[in-house]
Amino acid sequence: MNRIDQLFQNKQKDILSIYFPAGYPKLEDTLPTLQLLQDKGVDLVEIGIPFSDPLADGPVIQTAAKQALDNGMTLQILFDQLKDARKSITMPLILMGYWNTVYKFGVDAFLAECQKVGIDGVILPDLPLEEYQEEYKAKFEAAGVHNVLLVTPQTTDKRLVTIEKAASGFLYMVSTASTTGGALQASKEREDYFKKIAALDIPSLIGFGIHDKVSFQHAASFSNGAIIGTAFIKALEKGNAAEFLESLQ
């Protein structure tokens, strides 16, 4: 069974997911960071594929991605780094990146590598659902790789129906209209949106603007859990990643 599905089967509440870019802050940091995340009890990890033009990301992730690229990070190096990851890493792993890097790598080659190293899902925010369904869905399913879809406060009810039907793994519930790393304002409207998505038949995690224990618990109270990215990258940069993860407990 796909590790993502297993996770949601075993745990319905307070799932902690962490995002970090591969090859950051140093090229060889990918695996040690994964090990640290697992040791600190993180449930799910999204490994970012660095891209030159990350449209949906705020300044912190942009800068981190640029540093990873300057370190010489590539998708092939990432797969090489992950070659033996499954000897020690049991958490579900997701690759998150922009479509151009995957397309350039070759979709078939990409999926073959995902299968080889034990990737459970991908998040490709700029691959349109329609194109995915028509051209790639069968291949992703055959490879056992979930394509995790995003919903946002702007997603219309009509589109939500489509997304719910097409979703696999879980829904990435974007908390607010912003790029990554913004602040999350609590409001009745926001809570209604969280509740609406949580009521769907598929599990969901809330991301964007989750940065500490309080915001994590608040978000997790409306869903199966939440995703922290920018705040963790700041901790990596400062060298206090372990303390940061402990502060979330």
Partner: protein, 603 residues
Amino acid sequence: MKIKVCGLKHSKNIKELTQLPIDYAGFIFYPKSPRYVGEEFDAAIPALFSKSTRKVGVFVNEELDVLLAKGKKYKLDAMQLHGGESAEYCRKVKEAGFEVIKAFQMNDSFQFESLEKYGNVCDFFLFDTKTENYGGSGRKFNWELLENYKGSIPFFLSGGIGAQDAEQIKQLSHDKLYALDLNSGFELQPAKKNADQLEIFLNKLELNTMNKDKYAVDERGYYGEFGGAYIPELLRKNVDELQENYLKILASEQFKKDYARLLDNYVGRPTPLTKAGNLSKRYGTNIYLKREDLTHTGAHKINNTIGQILLAKYMGKKRIIAETGAGQHGVATATVCALFGLECIVYMGALDVERQAPNVARMKMLGAKVVPAISGNQTLKDATNEAIRDWIANPESFYLIGSVVGPHPYPDLVTRLQSIISKEIREQLEKETGNPNPNYVIACVGGGSNAAGAFYHYLNEKDVNLVAVEASGLGVESGETAATITIGDIGFIHGSKTMLMQDDDGQITEPYSISAGLDYPGVGPLHAHLAVSGRAQFLSATDEEALNAAKVLAESEGIIPALESSHALAVLEKMQFKKDDVVVINLSGRGDKDMETYMKKFN
């Protein structure tokens, strides 16, 4: 205008129709209709139509559960509700993910006010002839009644339309007329359509040529394999909103009137088509310059910003975001925002802010806020990224994009707004030479908006050679270049599938050209299609060649061109023309902004 063919049933008959440009295929699930599909209808039959034909189920006062179940079974895209269904019922159908077409029966006493409560719960209305039996009468209603419909929901025209009505339909000018619903007028017997008769009728409407235009964008925003809308879900609603509205607004009488008036008395159109006598002698042919340099703000960019600001206004937007490279689009945007009293935020790469100080000053004087983009390499690509990020964070804003790039519908929207250039060239050339078609149209391409505008009305004129000129910087082999088509390959940038300069790992590389308006690592998807299909010839000019061409034009014709336009002029040296050829060069902008560069070179 879209075409719906309704009352379909038989697979053999449908196979005869699949080659026709049918946008909606209707299947009647009302048991009392003579065209009822029946209890045992095979779900594979609607699927005989391609995905671009939407499948419509026609129901009359059906139980909601039954309707939804049929929708699922037959993979219907739309529901036509032909009975007395309530607005609440429509809402439920819409919420279930179907497009809703609500039918109403017209007679002289029909109250259009009664449609108001259906406004938010239907995608379309359908106006049919009033009968005892929910349509199917084969009679037309009095089409003059349509003039009383002032609502905003587009409608299908239905009821007894036949082969003899083509001319009358072409005269209909209602701006909400969206589609024709064809049924009994084209039948051999109930539910069996006459494919030949339909084809002749559609030809008469001249839809066939429109729909088969291989250089036009398709419904999902593709030119051949290029285009689309590769955007994060965060932008989906904004882009959908624009996709749904832009064609309707552009086709509305009000827009046409406002746009024409502003182009005429604010931009200063039509711009002249100048016969360049000395240049013609020099190259032994007949060279005409389309003088976009003479527009208000000094470049073609304003044709687009005038159109988009009207669009923003009609859509009720108050805050305008734009990106700019050299600052020409930024100035043109700041200009129209000042004119319409709208807030204007222009993103400009921090490096360009330094390089293009005069344009930064102009934008500020016009009241715009100029935000330096400090991400990436701090040029146009990064300014565009920042503008898109702003749009994500401020979804109520209008993103006024400056070239034929970005997610669908921007490439098509900007192309249409710039197409005024080739419209005028045709008229002016016909007056001048008796033939609207030249032998060559030459234009420079960065993102490609001036070229798209100069090519547009010639795309299907095979005898017109289209020449696009990219900036090759220090040379295509030098690594310091912006010649995307020459050295790029297929990729995705700013929401569009197109040709792209990138490394082996799919990282987008930084372009270089002396001209800030051409150093973009992508190119509009239309141009990628024109290049790959061979419709346009793509050449390139180096910095040096462009600078020299600017000098030649200045000295021979008394016109100082923008550095961008100089690239188009530069290929005159590389091409062979016949004495009788007519060559049109789109002079996209004037050179004032480039004087520092020119002086450095020539002093």
